[in-house]
Amino acid sequence: MILRLVQLTKRHGTHLAVDRLDLEAREGEFLVVLGPSGCGKTTTLRMIAGLEEPDDGEIWLGDRNVTRVPPRHRDMAMVFQSYALYPHLTVEENIAFPLRVRRVDHAEAARRVGQAAAKLGLEKLLERRPRALSGGERQRVALARAIVRQPNVFLMDEPLSNLDAQLRLETRAELKRLQHELGVTTVYVTHDQAEAMTLAHRVAVLAGGILQQLDSPINVYNQPANLFVAGFLGSPPMNLVEGRVDPGARGIVVDETLWPLPQGALDRLHGRTQVVMGVRPENVRLARESITGAVPARVYVVEPAGSECLVVVRLGRQTLTARVSADVNLDYDQAVWTQVNPERLLFFDPASRKAI
């Protein structure tokens, strides 16, 4: 089912929680809404579910306008951050609840509960009550309750955030597989950019109630639409340094240091004076000797991370993070040469904060 939000707006008092949001989740799509806390993503999800009424705009489910339809008639399934399992019911009764409510006949309900439980490995827990389950088990019951009927849309509100790190990774993979098998349009809300990158067909980045960018994870990562998206995605985040364009010197001057740029980049910056330059840590190279287009810097700190190594270097007042191979051998305050991959350089307008 296609889910479409049109100019959706919600105010909390005088604060605009969601501001004229246009968004579409395609048939069977895994759409992740990503943003920091307070960006309006949970409010958006609650409006889709019908738990909050929008002040303006419309919500379309296929060719049906459901903006004012109560939650029970939208036929969506939601997984809450707290799981919201019914504590007075057993696991089996919890999973069967949406079917009982819809008066699905008993044999059919039992069959579907069995299927959902099998899919999530809950067969042995059916008689238990939620309080006798671990966090991961509760999470799976919540998912089973969502998939037990074939809803129009799945809504998920940070469903992995209460799990510990190891379990979160496992469940993340299982969730992706599950969504693929069921092929139900899914809107998934999270503040975790790693979840967004790994799960989504498309990512909608939200900040201050406004849609910043809607694109595939790889495009959002490589071509962020603005400085917010550039800084929010990626771990460690993108290096952003502000400098002055100097066409005569064929580069950008940052703190008296000249960063030489190739002709193509200079053409893109034609007519501008101040720009913010962005480069991902994996596109920064470090060398012990001077190479063409490199800028001198000093090692500030080295952070080995097993398969790779993060090196923070200082150039005057600026710091840059480089992601280099794990076998690099650098020491505090060592002099190095820093070079950025000119193909992967991004530029932003410091005034409008938009990508150039």
Partner: protein, 274 residues
């Protein structure tokens, strides 16, 4: 270890202090009048008699008092819960403009802040006007009014403990708000409802002052008034009063034991990540 022993001793003392009057009441109900006020007191070795129970049960309209008390206490408790619980739910779940939900809650509580006796004359006049003097209905109405604020305050707390997400989940799963209230919220607040009901019942069962003023005949008298009526112009029938007191405790005890299971709290634990 030492602290546990001290605590146990303290608890024992507390239990003794609470049970001693009950023991005294129960023994007096079984004693011959000659033993009742013997000095030194006869604690155990007396010849028991069921004479007082026989007198109470057969010679006086005791069973009428019991029935009146059951009707009045049961009726007012039911009515107070029926009116108070929805009010409490509304105050727990909905935010009204200008903090009205808080103000209303306090206003409701404030009706219990004056001593009840000051309202007795106006209430007597009102009941007279309504032609409800010397009826059980007048007591049901008054006890309901007095229990309502406590029902609202107790139940509001219990409702607030139920996570909102549970209701929201139920609504997404296909229920409307009233159905969600009945199928999800009420089962979880059953212990609270039971505790509140016990509280209301005890208050109504024991109430004396209004019952004394508003009822005059055996036909509508409740137990406390009926028992007090054993103090007559000529004698105080201690044995009969004690026997009646013992019998009056029984229904409340039965009810409290019946709902004991629900009084054990904690059913809502584990709903949200615990």
């Amino acid at each position: 270890m030492k602290a546990t022993a001290a605590a146990a001793l303290l608890l024992l003392l507390a239990v003794l202090a609470a049970l001693l009057p009950v023991y005294w009441l129960a023994t007096i109900s079984l004693k011959q009048p000659v033993d009742q006020f013997a000095v030194p007191p006869v604690w155990i070795r007396f010849t028991p008699t069921l004479e007082h129970f026989r007198e109470i049960l057969f010679a006086r309209p005791f069973l009428t008092y019991v029935w009146n008390s059951v009707v009045v206490a049961g009726g007012s408790t039911l009515l107070a819960l029926l009116l108070g619980a929805p009010a409490a739910y509304g105050l727990a779940r909905f935010r009204l403009p200008h903090e009205l939900h808080e103000r209303l809650s306090f206003w409701i509580l404030s009706t219990r802040m004056f001593p009840p006796i000051i309202s007795i004359v106006p209430l007597f006049l009102m009941m007279n006007r309504l032609d409800l003097l010397n009826t059980r209905a007048s007591l049901v109405l008054i006890y309901t009014a007095f229990n309502l604020p406590l029902v609202v305050w107790m139940m509001r707390g219990f409702f607030e403990e139920v996570p909102v997400e549970l209701e929201e989940a139920a609504m997404v799963d296909g229920l409307n708000r009233v159905q969600a209230l009945v199928r999800v919220v009420l089962p979880l607040t059953a212990p609270g409802l039971a505790a509140t009901a016990v509280f209301c019942l005890i208050v109504a069962w024991n109430e004396f002052l209004f019952a004394l003023v508003l009822t005059q005949t055996d036909r509508v008298m409740t137990l406390p008034v009926g028992i007090a009526a054993q103090v007559t112009q000529f004698e105080i029938r201690w044995g009969a009063m004690s026997a009646a007191g013992v019998l009056a405790m029984i229904p409340i005890l039965i009810f409290a034991f019946a709902v004991q299971r629900y009084l054990v709290r904690g059913l809502s634990m584990g709903a949200v990540k615990g």
